[in-house]
């Protein structure tokens, strides 16, 4: 099947956008088996990892930043998630995957687990920053409360996200790989 370049790009873009909308819709939903200690999988983080795993630095950074803004829109905006997801995107993109990690079920889950832990740490530090910064007019939790909440949330979210990661990663990656193959065929 030969597609014109424009229609292929448009289809690829709309599938990508649709996957983001699906992730956003999944965020407030709680299905049986998707919840642990009231925490659900962080679908947007899985999306950012899936996107960044085969892409360059700038694309990953941009995606992390934009997706962080989207998540802010879905909840309170301070502290912003754009920072933590940007870091996740950049780190995932710069992993030496050819050397150490294969693209299989286990590795993707492991990457998501590690990235989830990193992103929660960044958010916890952001909360501490707001607590520590004097005169900001915003106070959230005290340090010890941040710490105890961080421990609960990080483990639950990292476990759930890594378990559900393949559900999102496989179809998305399959689609993007196909698109890339088509692109290569059409240019040669």
């Amino acid at each position: 099947m030969r597609w014109s370049k424009l229609s292929r790009k448009l289809t690829n873009g709309s599938v990508t956008l649709a996957s983001i909308v699906l992730c956003l819709l999944l965020l407030p939903a709680r299905f049986p088996g998707m919840e642990l200690l009231g925490v659900a999988p962080n679908w947007l983080l899985i999306w950012v990892v899936s996107w960044s795993i085969n892409r360059g630095f700038w694309q990953a950074a941009l995606a992390g930043w934009a997706i962080g803004f989207l998540q802010d829109g879905m909840s309170e905006q301070i502290p912003t998630r754009a920072l933590s997801l940007l870091i996740v995107g950049v780190l995932t993109a710069s992993l030496k995957k050819q050397k150490y990690v294969q693209e299989d079920f286990i590795s993707v889950s492991l990457i998501v687990f590690a990235m989830s832990a990193i992103s929660e740490t960044v958010v916890a530090l952001q909360f501490c920053w707001y607590t520590w910064r004097p005169g900001s007019g915003l106070t959230f939790m005290h340090f010890d409360e941040v710490w105890s909440y961080y421990q609960d949330v990080t483990l639950a979210s990292a476990l759930l996200s890594s378990l559900w990661a393949p559900v999102l990663y496989y179809p998305l990656n399959y689609w993007w790989r196909r698109m890339r193959l088509l692109e290569m065929n059409s240019t040669t």
Binding site: A29, V39, W65, G73, E76, L138, E145, Y149
Partner: protein, 268 residues
């Protein structure tokens, strides 16, 4: 030469830069709109899975009967109180029942998504109550869905009093089913088992709404005495809530988070 270099750069990266800017602007405007479009879509999709409407009618009927009994009692009490202090008590407003259609989209924040929005008269700042007492207030509303910030959220501040001794303090969430009250006085009259309600001084919540009971007291905490409160409402198992519009609520967007504290301190 310089112009040529810029042109070359533009030919190579122009489209990419343009797309990046569009993507970021799009994401940013989504953030500024509090995800309005998406919550609308979500409320439409979740409509078939909503708890049947009959339940809402039952709730309203039960509520009406309860109110009609209470009303007469209140009216008499009001008349007597008004004579005594010459002041009319704040009213809680007409309830609007709303199904819970979603939970928090970010686990650092404690919130709910309810299936009623500005089209049903829900506005930002409305108090949200469930069987058992106060659960939070509306943080943002789209046409058919709104997000409720729970009292268990770390950024939530509620002015409260101990019903027994009238000791006043500010309650904040720590992300679980227990919350923490910090008192203004050095030695507040509070002990385990005391009931906690919203304060008369509170500008954002109607006065006298039940919240929870005191489970532990730490008077030596710094900077202010602290007690832990267990909420009456089982937040995890809720299906329906009622939203109360509250007329006298000066909600300035700038001092949104901590204005409750300032208002309370001003009143002290």
């Amino acid at each position: 030469m310089f112009v040529y270099a810029i042109r070359q750069w533009w030919i190579r990266y122009g489209v990419t830069t343009g797309i990046s800017i569009v993507v970021l602007l799009g994401a940013w405007s989504f953030r500024q709109s509090n995800g309005r479009i998406l919550y609308e879509l979500y409320s439409q999709i979740s409509k078939p899975f909503e708890v049947p409407q009959a339940k809402e009618k039952d709730l309203i009927d039960a509520r009406t009967r309860e109110l009609s009994v209470k009303l007469e009692e209140q009216r008499q009490e009001n008349a007597r109180l008004r004579q005594l202090i010459g002041e009319s008590p704040k009213n809680i407003g007409e309830p609007k029942f709303a199904p819970i259609i979603g939970r928090s989209a970010n686990h650092w924040w404690q919130s709910l998504v309810i299936g009623r929005g500005s089209a049903d008269g829900v506005t930002r700042g409305d108090a949200v109550v469930a069987p058992g007492g106060l659960i939070g207030r509306v943080a943002s509303a789209s046409a058919h869905a709104s997000r409720v910030l729970l009292v268990s959220d770390p950024s939530s501040r509620v002015g409260v009093t101990v019903t027994r001794s009238r000791a006043a303090g500010v309650m904040r969430g720590v992300g679980s089913t227990t919350t923490i009250i910090e008192f203004f006085e050095k030695l507040p009259d509070v002990k385990t088992g005391d009931a906690i309600t919203t304060s008369n001084f509170s500008q954002r919540f109607p006065a006298g709404v039940p919240i929870g009971t005191v489970t532990s007291v730490d008077l030596s905490a710094s900077p202010a005495p602290q007690v832990e409160v267990e909420l009456f409402v089982p937040l995890a198992d809720l299906e329906w809530v009622s939203v109360h519009s509250h007329e006298d609520k000066p909600l300035s967007p700038q001092s949104e988070l901590n204005s409750e504290v300032e208002i309370l301190l001003d009143d002290e």
